[in-house]
Amino acid sequence: MTSIPMPEEGTLTTKPVVDETNYLKSAYGIKSWLLTQDHKRIAIMYMIGIGIAFLLGGLFALAVRLELWTPTKTIVEAATYNKLFTLHGAIMTFLVLVPSIPAILGNFVLPMMLGAKDVAFPKLNLLSFYLWLLGAIGFVVVLFAGDLDTGWTFYAPYSIRTQTAVALAATGAFILGFSSILTGLNFMVTIHKMRAKTMGWFRMPLLLWGLYATSVIQIVATPVIGITVGMLFLEKLFHIGFFDPKLGGDPVLFEHFFWFYSHPVVYVMILPAMGVISEIITAMSRKHIFGYTFIAFSSIAIALFGFLVWGHHMFVSGQSSLMSTIFSLLTFSVSIPSAIKVFNWLATMYKGSISLAPPMLFAMGFLFLFGIGGLTGLFLGTLNTDVHLHDTYFIVAHFHYTMMGSALIGLIGGLFFYWPKIFGRMYSHLLGTISFILIFVGFNLTFIPQFLMGSMGMPRRYYNYPPEFQAYHQWSTVGSFVLAAGLFTALWCFIHSLFRGEKAPDNPWGAVTLDWKTSSPPHHHNFDIVPPVTDPYDMDDVYWDEESKGYISRSQQAALQELAAGVSGTQEKNS
């Protein structure tokens, strides 16, 4: 569609100017946002929704930490405390962590990285956003309809007996599962069918390998939680008796069903974050990625091995010794691809020219925190130490290091990295650095004490705890408030940039992937002419342009000049 002739500024004072080259201004009004099929606008709606859910989940976390200030009652009763940690867990995992990077950064960046105009099924993309919204509303309604006090795992006999709104939460989780399936399906088909002409599988950016592996997991694992939650729903309303020991059911069977989904889903949370870190480290170190094929295949390996290991959550749950041994052996197979990735990232930084802008700070923070998260997983894969450490605060610290410390830090780093592209605004590096320091210090202050008390005998989900752990809990609570302060600083840095950030160049960090070859903020349908596809990490393709304070891609410029010459040539012929 030819660009609509610009009306002069003064004439249409009421109706703002429609500008095709900027997806934010290509249409106005609520309907243009709520019914949009543009993957970029859907990404922003997800960002706002997930941000609010993250705020809600975070408040629950602070309430839990406050309650644990003293060994007995501090602010709430036992029943309320159980509801607080359950809702913290459920909101954080189902509403925030599972969709976060694929839905926000993935939705925004994937089509552009492929050189496509949009995802394969735009209507489906909008549908999965509204399914996410419906699921989120379901969880918010659970807050008022009797809360939920089963822990985010809904373990069988207790979740069947309790009077809280388990059936409603199950429906919410089912709908969120559906939204996750549709996003996974959309991304998988887009990556298969809509890559730019010359972009083979091994010329795709690594974030796309991460998102592809994530969509494989979303497609194969999520239906199983759908049927599990469906059976729990039937159990609650019709007492169908699959998991209720009084009706001949078997609670450990529920655990198998639950963890067949819930272990691969932790890889849904971490793989996109790893993809984002690959993009940030290469761009910030001005270096080609080290070992592209190893990193790409390790994403797929993590996705596939992730399906063989769920039993390490059940070593002490009545699972047979034979199965525990098999699962323990297979669990160690998953740690190898993660190790490969970390070493390859370090090798990428070797001999680079590393800028310490906020995205790189978060990437290095990721290396540190994922290092601890991954290595503490070794304790839990080992059979006899896991018998002692299972369901203690050691586990709480471990999964916070991998989920919060790696997936969330990856998301925040990704936001800092793609912010100029999404909103066309730069942010103040000072505010970004302060937020990183606060988050980094607060996070470690919160969770290192939990490792210690976990190994010394502090069980999970305890309202009253043995008094000797009070000091650790108090340090942890202080840390959680520092962490909260850091997160709010990051939020302030983003909002501040929207109003006072200066105009961002098209390519501030000098990344070479196709998404950085669009304007910031990008065109309504991404590209008029798809730029030539180069090696995604060949840093020599871009050079620093002092005047626009950004990088310009040589190959794209050459292609445009050649095209311009070609067009002027045909105009001479037919004029």
Partner: protein
């Protein structure tokens, strides 16, 4: 640089677009391939969705084989076999309908779609009859499993069901039976809705050789529903 883009933008940017191809696809073939792959990936999620119930079946059949041996005699093998044949015929007419759509034979397409709907209706009718029989006997799922006296005595295929040798936990079989056939029945209903929607669009003549993707997609979904019943029938009805 942006001026260079604008000058070129005018004539070359607009691809020649066939009627049914969405703006973000380059060609009808790319759209068709994407739709097919998308459907196959969705079928994977359906397979995994049902695998949960097949896993429950496998676990409880291995834990309590005597329950399955005893309780399956309540099911009528004849009706089950009839239902399987009905679904196979509906699958056949559906595949035929896809062929008609590809060749643009509108009348044959509508006949086949209606035939498929009729078969699906018969299937649900037979299922409803079986369910009513179960409710009448009181052999329902889980906690509400209280077989009345009329449930016992002579069975469909000549066996003899005595109350005293009913093994404990027999309700497990019926929980699994109702879960599996209930979920499958739900999918048949969804399929019938989709085929009705196809029938309406076929009447308006939208399907032809250059645009038949929806018929193909609903056909795939329907064949999967038939595939699941093909596995479900022997597992529930033919236990010996």
């Amino acid at each position: 640089m942006s001026q260079a883009i604008d000058s070129i933008h005018g004539d070359q940017g607009q691809l020649s677009h066939e009627p049914h191809v969405a703006h973000h696809f380059e060609s009808a073939e790319q759209q068709y391939d994407s739709a097919k792959l998308g459907m196959w990936v969705f079928l994977v999620t359906e397979i995994l969705f049902f695998s949960g119930l097949f896993c429950v079946y496998a676990v409880y059949r291995s834990l309590h084989p005597e329950v399955f041996l005893y309780a399956h005699q309540w099911l009528d093998k004849g009706l089950g076999a009839l239902n399987t044949v009905v679904l196979i015929i509906s699958s056949f007419t559906m595949a035929w309908a896809v062929r008609n759509a590809q060749l643009g034979q509108k009348k044959a397409l509508m006949i086949n779609l209606t035939l498929t709907l009729v078969c699906a209706g018969t299937f649900m009718g037979i299922k409803a009859k079986e369910y009513s029989q179960k409710f009448e006997h009181g052999t329902t799922w889980g906690a509400s499993f209280h077989p009345h006296d009329n449930a016992f005595g002579e069975t469909h295929d000549g066996g003899e069901l005595k109350k005293e040798d009913m093994p404990p936990n027999t309700q497990l079989f019926f929980s699994i039976y109702f879960a599996l056939t209930g979920l499958h029945g739900l999918h048949v209903l969804i399929g019938m809705g989709l085929i009705l929607w196809l029938l309406v669009r076929a009447a308006k003549g939208t399907f032809g050789p250059e645009y038949f993707t929806p018929v193909d997609i609903v056909g795939l979904y329907w064949h999967l529903v038939d595939l699941i019943w093909i596995f479900l029938f022997p597992l529930l009805y033919l236990i010996h």
